[in-house]
Amino acid sequence: MTRGLEAEYVQILRDYLDSQEEDELYGAQKLGKFLLRRDISPEEMVDLHGRALEKLGDVPEFVRASFRILTEVMIEYGNAQRSLNSWRSKHAQLQSEVAVASAMQQALLPQNMPTYPSVEIGAISIAAHEISGDYYDFMYVDEHQFSLTIGDITGKGIPAAMCMSMLKYAVDSLGEIRLGPDQMLRHLNRVVERNIDASMFVTMLFGCYDTQSHVFRYAVAGHEPGFLYRAQEGRFYDLAGSGVALGIDGNSQYKEQEVHLQIGDLLILLTDGVTECKLGRSYMTREELISNLQHEVHLPSQNMVDQIYRRLLMLTQFEQRDDYTMIVLKRI
């Protein structure tokens, strides 16, 4: 530790003894920050304090001796602090891997929304912890149709992310065969069942939107129900449809559903990370969610999903407990 530091500390002490003012206490706090940044251990700090006292007056022998005991105690605090650095660097290693994995995942998500003159699409997907077990994708079918997938792998984090990347490829390769929504889920179910650990499963909605007839045909595998917003009534309806999640039973069957959108109507698809926001001690109800959706329903689709995420995050005081995905599709 440098002489300069000791002198500065003696000065802070001296000023405080003279005036006993808040200024010096503020100075002490800033000094604490400075010392930490300089990696001065707590035992060194205590030792510094003991030496500084000698400059300020007659230190009784019992006070002087007591600092030897305090130093001894503080060495253990110092060891804890030194271990912080090692935890931090171990964690940094893993985190840099997670960051690369996260970038890989971003690349797996669609880079551009489909653009058709009569629909406006917004999507947001935010991982609870950097890497996500949520998944969504759009696929071009023909000049009037596109398909979309939204899914949630059980659990979060790295294992879910690994499943997610497998699923991406499964959807990708099966997508080429142009299956109906029910058939698509039936095939995906087999893939998931074969390749993913028995304890994991995937909830999914797969659908196909026709931008001429504005009919959305879809099927659901254990996935959180989406909403249909009827602009004329100003009301939200649950999207019908059920079905067993993927990966539970290789023989599961799925049922095709159909909705028809009028101008201004919205389809709101989501994962349970949206509905399982925790407000204080209780979960948000679907009614509360609807009232939050209602507030932003007038916005362009992408603004709407962004704004709702921000709103809900604020409500939960920034504790995002699950991966969060929302797609809004508006007939314009």
């Binding site: 706090q29 920050k33 940044r37 920034f318």
Partner: protein, 137 residues
């Protein structure tokens, strides 16, 4: 659920010495409320951090300190308010190791850990509000 608030004092934060004033007010009020010396210092440190954030990132703002009560307890509530640029990523701002100033130690995560309640709102281009409460045991 807060049922009553009193003794409210608001300190405008415009220059660094205002940080000291806010600390002082907080320390006095927490002493009057019967907090121990350590907790008085932690409250002063928390006010310091909130006020420094205003001073460094928003330029100007206010710190309001008041006594609050709920059904069971009395506590000290601190509100930091500014009309600065706002914080783009609130979750990042509450993560350890994330401080633009690069300073170890307190920062917002430290304040959150020292206090009991912690609430934060921020709108880009509009400003930030942080409300913290320390209840007396």
């Amino acid at each position: 659920m807060i049922v009553a608030a009193s003794n409210s004092e608001t300190i405008p934060i415009e220059k660094e010495t205002d940080i000291v004033t806010a600390r002082q007010v907080g320390r006095n009020m927490s002493r009057q409320l019967g907090f121990g010396t350590i907790m008085q210092s932690r409250i002063a440190t928390s006010i310091s951090e909130l006020a420094r954030n205003i001073y460094l990132y928003a330029g100007t703002g206010t710190i309001t300190i008041e006594t609050v009560e709920n059904d069971e307890k009395t506590g000290l509530k601190i509100t930091a308010l500014d009309e600065g640029p706002g914080i783009a990523d609130l979750r990042k701002a509450l993560e350890d190791g994330f401080t633009t100033s690069g300073a170890l130690g307190a920062g917002l995560p430290g304040v959150r850990r020292m206090m009991d309640d912690f609430q934060m709102e921020s709108t880009l281009g509009k400003g930030t509000r942080v409300v913290v409460i320390k209840w007396r045991e």
